[in-house]
């Protein structure tokens, strides 16, 4: 990303031999070796579903130093409210605390997530 990409994009677009295809490009004869390799890879992938990097990154972020204050408040609130509701009277909820923690975590994870996703 950045200004350099713009120039390469412009050059790419200006090249007389660059092609834009509205129709499906003609199918290229596939090499015989390729399908075998792909099958192997697929088998490996099929064993376990792809894991969402967002959840993992946000979990890491929640436990990082950056989000420690928000996490501290949230955990404290959850403890307080669960204790209170065990006694039968919870007068508050932890939505606001949850917001602050979720905001911190997603903000911390955003650039990392985008570097992983396609």
């Amino acid at each position: 990303m950045g200004i350099w990409d713009t120039f390469t994009d412009l050059v790419e677009a200006a090249k007389p031999w660059a092609t834009v295809e509205a129709e499906a490009p003609a199918e290229e004869p596939q090499e015989e070796e390729q399908p075998e390799e792909e099958e192997e890879e697929e088998e490996e992938e099929d064993d376990d579903e792809p894991k969402d990097p967002k959840e993992q990154l946000e979990e890491e972020c929640k436990n990082s130093k950056q989000c420690a204050p928000a996490k501290h408040h949230f955990d404290e609130c959850v403890e307080r409210v669960t204790n209170a509701s065990d006694d039968g009277e919870a007068k508050e909820d932890c939505v606001e605390e949850f917001f602050h923690l979720a905001h911190c975590a997603s903000q911390c994870a955003a650039p990392k997530l985008w570097s992983i996703l396609k």
């Binding site: 499906a24 967002k54 932890c94 997603s106 955003a110 396609k118």
Partner: protein, 299 residues
């Protein structure tokens, strides 16, 4: 004249103590009234609690929103697949005809084939009967429900909105919808009230949304073998919905670039023309040649 002198003489010289007290009292009054004013009106009134506002989405570094970037058409293709396989059973996309997909998302043949899978009403025939015909490129993507009432009836009373312009129609646009789709926590935070038939989502104003989580890892299988994680599908479908709402974006950016380029050329031209036109003025030399002073005049 007289009046003034009488009044001054009657009060006499003010004692410094009185003056100090007056100054202190008036200052205290001033500070006090400012404090009172801010106490009354200073803090902004929040009509809604943060939960009612909803959590503001994080700004994600979308590439396609940058000034000189276009939509990633591979992503649009994946996003359209997600829309079709996941969202289309509840949400219509009523402003997008098949022809708009040609060249941006699908090839002509693919779009024709897709259109032909659905039936549309014909014009009345000679007997005034309306028959069915297979779809054409000029037809619009069909809605999942006959009308809003049917849509509500099938969704617990909640209407799944049309997604054609949803990116423009929500604060936070792409960030909001991405956050909404990926933001369902495993369980609502302690003490949160979730209404019957609703699901907790922090990004939805009020936090109770009638749409349950729809995206799960591995739900679709991408033809380009991108791993279909929840966030990947959400990212793709959001970029696709951004295209649906703003199909002119790529052209608009190119037009902007054209305007800047042409303006730059014209500006350069005008600088050269100015230089040319002013050449005579700039290069002329004004010489003051004072007349010779002769003694004749002096005497």
């Amino acid at each position: 004249m007289e009046g003034r002198s009488i009044s001054t003489s009657s009060t006499g010289a003010e004692s410094p103590l009185k003056l100090n007290v007056a100054a202190a009292a008036s200052t205290a009054l001033a500070i006090g009234s400012v404090a009172w004013y801010y106490h009354l009106y200073g803090s902004t009134a929040h009509a809604m609690t943060p939960a009612e506002e909803g959590l503001h989405p994080t700004a994600y570094p979308w590439v396609h929103t940058q000034w000189l970037k276009t939509f990633d058409h591979q992503a649009l293709r994946r996003g359209f697949q997600v829309y079709q396989e996941v969202c289309a059973s509840c949400h219509s996309l009523s402003r997008v005809p098949y022809r708009a997909l040609v060249g941006t998302v699908l090839t002509v043949d693919e779009a024709k084939e897709l259109a032909e899978q659905n039936e549309y009403d014909t014009e009345p025939n000679d007997e005034g009967e309306i028959e069915k015909r297979p779809g054409k490129l000029s037809d619009y993507i069909p809605a999942p429900y006959k009308n809003d009432e049917a849509a509500r009836a099938a969704n617990n009373g909640a209407l799944p909105p049309d997604l054609s312009l949803i990116v423009k129609g929500r604060h936070g646009g792409c960030d909001y919808i991405f956050s909404l789709l990926t933001g369902y926590p495993d369980e609502p935070p302690a003490g949160a009230q979730v209404g019957a038939g609703l699901n907790f989502n922090p990004y939805f104003p009020g936090t109770g949304i009638a749409m349950a989580r729809v995206l799960y890892d591995g739900l679709v299988e991408y033809e380009d073998e991108t791993p279909a994680t929840t966030s990947q599908m959400a990212k793709d479908v959001v970029e696709f919905l951004n295209w649906a709402a703003e199909p002119e974006m790529d052209d608009r950016k190119r037009m902007g670039m054209k305007v800047l380029t042409v303006t730059a050329v014209l500006f350069a031209l005008s600088v050269w023309v100015k230089r040319y036109k002013w050449a005579t003025l700039k290069s002329r030399k004004i010489v003051y040649d004072p007349p010779k002073v002769t003694d004749k005049f002096r005497s």
